[in-house]
């Protein structure tokens, strides 16, 4: 057996070819170097590197060059929040502007108990597939959460988990507000709310009361009681669904008290106000 021809020549050939190409590329990268704005590198270093796309650019690199070249706003990174926005602002020499961190919120209380499923879906375990099956959704309410956990699987930060009641739960301490769940939910039942928001309507249904009642015992029936009771008139009725304007909300929690369907979520701040009163 000709060892020279079987081993040495092929190895030498591939080695030499690889070496030459490597050297060529190394030389080319120096000869053809394009001067990049150094701020891009600085901004990229300041970003968290989650590459979640929450800013609307393809990854952190894309956002960094977007800030420098396309004049993108410096406070788009929801993962890094205000500290990162300030860093980018100081690199760019502009004002950071205010950034209220956002978090994901599920506008649905249609648990398996409150809103029974109308068929036993046995297909691909993904809401996006279940949403397009001919003849409608597995659950009775066409606005509500399907509950197959697509949001959980797209969340890069482990902030979502499926609860025993068939609805995903948001871990507020882990949620960075990148909006991946909002984008991937075929029902649009997730929304981003400011972390300061304390009183939120947890329903997505635009149906009228009797229709809602027929599919779910925990849905907004569009009775307008909350809108009438609100001392600041900050609740609008949008196609039979109450929507709270977070900017003017004083977190008194009155709307949640009068809501007959108990569909308005209240958080810690309301509880604090009630205790002091």
């Amino acid at each position: 057996m000709d060892i020279m021809h079987v081993f040495v020549t092929p190895l030498a050939l591939m080695g030499i070819m690889g070496g030459i190409f490597g050297a060529l590329l190394a030389v080319a990268s120096i000869v053809f170097r394009v001067h990049q704005d150094e701020r891009i590198g600085l901004i990229r270093a300041a970003l968290p590197g989650a590459n979640c796309g929450g800013c609307g650019y393809p990854g952190c690199d894309g956002y960094a060059s977007g800030v420098v070249n396309d004049g993108a706003a410096v406070n788009k990174c929801s993962v890094g929040g205000a500290p990162v926005a300030e860093k980018i602002a100081s690199i760019m020499g502009v004002d950071a502007g205010s950034t209220v961190p956002m978090r994901a919120f599920l506008k649905c209380k249609g648990t398996c108990e409150a809103s029974p499923r109308k068929l036993n879906y046995d297909g691909v375990h993904d809401c996006r597939s279940a949403a397009v099956i001919p003849g409608g959704l597995p659950n009775s309410c066409p606005f509500g959460c399907i509950g197959l956990g697509t949001c959980v699987s797209v969340c890069q930060f482990g902030a979502l988990s499926m609860g025993d009641d068939g609805l995903p739960k948001v871990d507020v301490s882990k949620c960075v507000g990148c909006g991946a769940c909002v984008e991937n939910c075929p029902k649009g039942v997730f929304t981003l709310v400011p972390v300061t928001a304390d009183v939120i309507v947890a329903c997505n249904s635009h149906w009228k009361g009797p229709m809602v009642k027929s599919v779910c015992s925990a849905g907004c029936i569009g009775c307008t009681l909350c809108a009438k009771k609100c001392p600041k008139q900050t609740i609008d009725m949008v196609n039979d669904l109450a929507v709270i304007n977070q900017e003017n909300c004083i977190k008194c929690g009155l709307c949640a008290k009068v809501c007959p369907a108990k569909v308005i979520n209240t958080g810690e701040k309301v509880a604090a106000i009630e205790k002091s009163a």
Partner: protein, 195 residues
């Protein structure tokens, strides 16, 4: 090869042996970047550019390196090496020398480094025993066939997007796959125009 034969090779590599619809090479971008006509054309242009260059380089590698050393069996490895290095080099050079072209080819240039259409054309040239001229003509024809097919596909898909008569479960990729199948059948009609 005579001029007539080269011309016939050119036509047959575009239509009869269309690289996407008859040889089924490079189907990934055919599905992946055919939703908008503009990006499809960008991809197609990048493919024309790279396939022609890569065919030249691989032909030289095969005939002046592998054949004299009797290492023909190393063709896959060395072709991949040559193509990858070439595309990287071209990308670096274009960025500096022709930023406009670089921007228009954009992200597609590095993407097609690993496209099987590029390697496929190089291997086809080798298997058919084409000379340099025939290799280049085959490369140009095949890649223009790619550009043609992906542009047609993108045009059709843009129209499909605007049509709301498609059932929910067929929207998007399923409809694109059916379209691709029908296009492939249509291209079979070209078989026989060249003996």
């Amino acid at each position: 090869m005579s001029i007539t034969e080269l011309f016939l090779l050119f036509v047959s590599s575009i239509f009869v042996h269309n690289i996407l619809l008859s040889r089924f090479l490079g189907c990934c971008p055919f599905m992946g970047v055919s939703s908008k006509l503009k990006t499809a054309q960008g991809m197609g242009a990048a493919v024309v550019f790279v396939i022609v260059l890569a065919s030249l380089m691989t032909w030289l590698t095969y005939n002046y390196l592998l054949v004299p050393l009797h290492l023909e069996y190393l063709y896959t490895l060395s072709f991949i090496l040559v193509i990858a290095a070439l595309v990287q080099f071209v990308e670096l050079a274009l960025k500096k020398l022709n930023p406009v072209l670089y921007k228009s080819l954009g992200i597609f240039l590095p993407l097609i480094t690993t496209n099987c259409a590029v390697l496929g054309v190089a291997v086809l040239n080798m298997n058919e025993g084409y000379g340099l001229a025939a290799s280049l003509v085959n490369a140009l024809g095949s890649s223009l066939g790619f550009l043609l097919a992906i542009s047609l596909m993108a045009g059709i898909r843009e129209r499909i997007e605007e049509n709301d008569g498609i059932p929910d479960s067929l929207q998007g990729l399923p409809m694109a796959l059916i379209t691709a199948g029908l296009m492939s059948i249509a291209f079979m009609g070209f078989t026989g125009i060249i003996k």
